[in-house]
């Protein structure tokens, strides 16, 4: 069984410049000026790693979707338009920066597995350095002021990705969702619910310090994952044949498909991961912790960027499903359910 509680961790920090109106209410020229100011800062020598600035106007849909799939950009920012927007990636993708989205700046960090504390350490540091050139909008009572007052305060959004297919299959997720909501967190399926992968995040404004918010999200997530693990054990105890059958069929489909949609692929990998974690399946070359990385690589823009001609490839190409099926066949070669 995997020791990690979170399948993936992500953090966002929203900040605004005190002397300017928020992006939706500001003049385009002022937003362009602010973006240039920030870009100049990113080129400076105060950073441990280099920032790479991306030209959003020259970016194709495949490239922006690829950034979203890697957790470097939020879907809302990728879909939005407007003057003065900017984007930059820190180092090899340890963090990223959205400029003039809903707020003037939003620092983002994403990594697989349990990594909330490490992400906070990094983003907190980057935030301090940005503050040496930006005067943040802040009020002692309200905290960091954001475009959406419901997000004012820490300006921090914590995202914990959880793998809970057994809770979803047995209809127990609603109870967990209502429980999380009662604790001030929201819960939503990440890829339309495929593979039982959900994301828990802090929902509304609270005055708590950032580390308490992180701990709170981690504690609630741990409770949900423990419930998932106990339901899996119950399924194995009370429905052993059906559980083996479910996992075995998933392995069979993964080994013999020639075209595969992304949601179906997520569901199959998820079943394989459960098989590994329960000790029911052998999948050479795959571990429970590497499953999420495999899912990431099966996303449409990842396939176009890594296996197709980026210049001609598009996200609607049927070739994507064929390549995905081939990758799965390779990954699941030799996989079987233990008897």
């Amino acid at each position: 069984m995997s020791a990690a509680v979170l399948t993936a961790s992500a953090l966002g920090l929203s900040r605004n410049e005190a002397d300017r109106r928020f992006p939706h209410a500001e003049d385009p020229a002022a937003l362009v000026e602010l973006r240039q100011e920030i870009f100049d800062t990113l080129k400076g020598g105060m950073w441990d790693r280099a920032w790479r600035v991306h030209d959003l106007e020259a970016m194709s849909e495949v490239e922006s979707t690829y950034l979203v799939e890697r957790g470097l950009m939020t879907p809302a920012f990728a879909e939005a338009t407007g003057e003065g927007r900017g984007f930059a990636v820190y180092g090899a993708g340890e963090a990223s920066l959205e400029i003039n989205g809903v707020d003037h700046v939003r620092l983002l960090g994403f990594r697989p597995g349990d990594g909330l504390a490490a992400l906070w350490t990094l983003l907190n540091l980057l935030d301090d350095r940005l503050e040496t050139v930006l005067t943040y909008a802040f009020d002692p009572r309200w905290g960091y002021l954001t475009t959406n007052p419901g997000r004012a305060g820490s300006g921090m959004r914590v995202y914990a990705t959880l793998h809970v297919p057994a809770l979803m299959l047995t209809g127990r997720l609603a109870g967990a969702a209502v429980g999380a909501l009662g604790q001030g967190l929201s819960m939503a399926p990440l890829w339309g619910g495929a593979g039982g992968i959900i994301q828990v995040s802090n929902a509304g404004r609270v005055g708590r310090p950032e580390k308490e918010i992180l701990q709170h999200v981690e504690d609630i997530s741990r409770g949900i994952v423990e419930k998932e693990r106990s339901v899996r054990k119950m399924l194995l105890r009370e429905s052993a044949v059906q559980t083996r059958d479910h996992i075995g069929r998933a392995l069979g489909v993964a080994q013999h498909s020639w075209s595969m949609s992304f949601p179906e692929a997520v569901t199959l990998v998820s079943a394989g991961q459960v098989g590994l974690e329960l000790g029911l399946a052998d999948i050479p070359g795959m571990t429970a912790t590497s499953a999420f990385g495999l899912i990431s690589r099966l996303q449409p823009a990842h396939i176009v960027m890594e296996h197709m001609d980026v210049k001609t490839g598009c996200l609607e190409s049927p070739e994507i499903d064929e390549i995905r099926a081939r990758l799965l066949r390779e990954e699941f070669a030799g996989a079987h359910v233990r008897s």
């Binding site: 809302a76 005067t135 921090m156 209502v178 509304g204 005055g207």
Partner: protein, 191 residues
């Protein structure tokens, strides 16, 4: 890979704010369910949400989020007893032009001045039971000293409340003295 925070999360923004089930209590959560491919949205009060969660056998997918926009709408007394139209129109921010209606509809303010202009409305909207709303987390390194003092006082006030609740009165007295001292410093601080 982040959840797509689509407007569907606040789908009923212009509609009812009472619980879909009991029809009397204010709805504070939004459940999205997908059962056999059919999507349904339900707005529930906490009591009904618990009973729904217990009854949902075979539930395939669920999304549960509080609606900030709905919360804003619910908290606005103006929605229940319409104020004089001219007075309502007068409430706008002189810096960015955001009106109270804009804020209600979009849930967004246009600048930091809006936080002062709409302070009553925002305070009412974000009152939550049991959760401190005063910001006790990180603060800018380059802010004025008065901000740091206020921040420290809010932290101590929270500590004082917790100590009194735990009946640790001696420690509470120490915190109270420190608060008095900081209050005096703040009063004498020209910034």
């Amino acid at each position: 890979m982040y959840i797509d925070e689509s407007p569907d999360w606040n789908i009923e923004n212009d509609g009812s704010v009472v619980c879909d089930l009991c029809g009397t209590e204010p709805a504070t959560m939004h459940l999205l369910r997908v059962v056999d491919g059919v999507v349904s949205h339900t707005h529930l009060c906490p009591g009904c949400a618990e009973s729904v969660a217990e009854e949902n056998e075979g539930l395939a997918l669920v999304l549960a989020v509080p609606s900030v926009l709905r919360h804003l709408g619910r908290s606005a007394p103006a929605d229940e007893t319409p104020p004089d139209p001219p007075e309502r129109e007068e409430r706008f921010c002189g810096v960015c032009g955001t009106t109270l209606t804009d804020l209600r509809e979009s849930g967004m303010v246009g600048c930091i001045n809006c936080y002062q202009v709409f302070i009553d409305y925002l305070q009412t909207s974000f009152e939550t039971e049991g959760e401190p709303v005063e910001h006790l987390g990180k603060m800018p390194l380059r802010g004025p000293e008065s901000d740091a003092l206020k921040h420290e006082m809010m932290r101590l006030q929270r500590m004082l409340r917790e100590l009194v609740e735990c009946e640790r009165f001696e420690e509470a007295a120490g915190v109270r003295d420190r608060l008095t001292e900081l209050g005096q410093r703040l009063d004498g601080d020209p910034s």
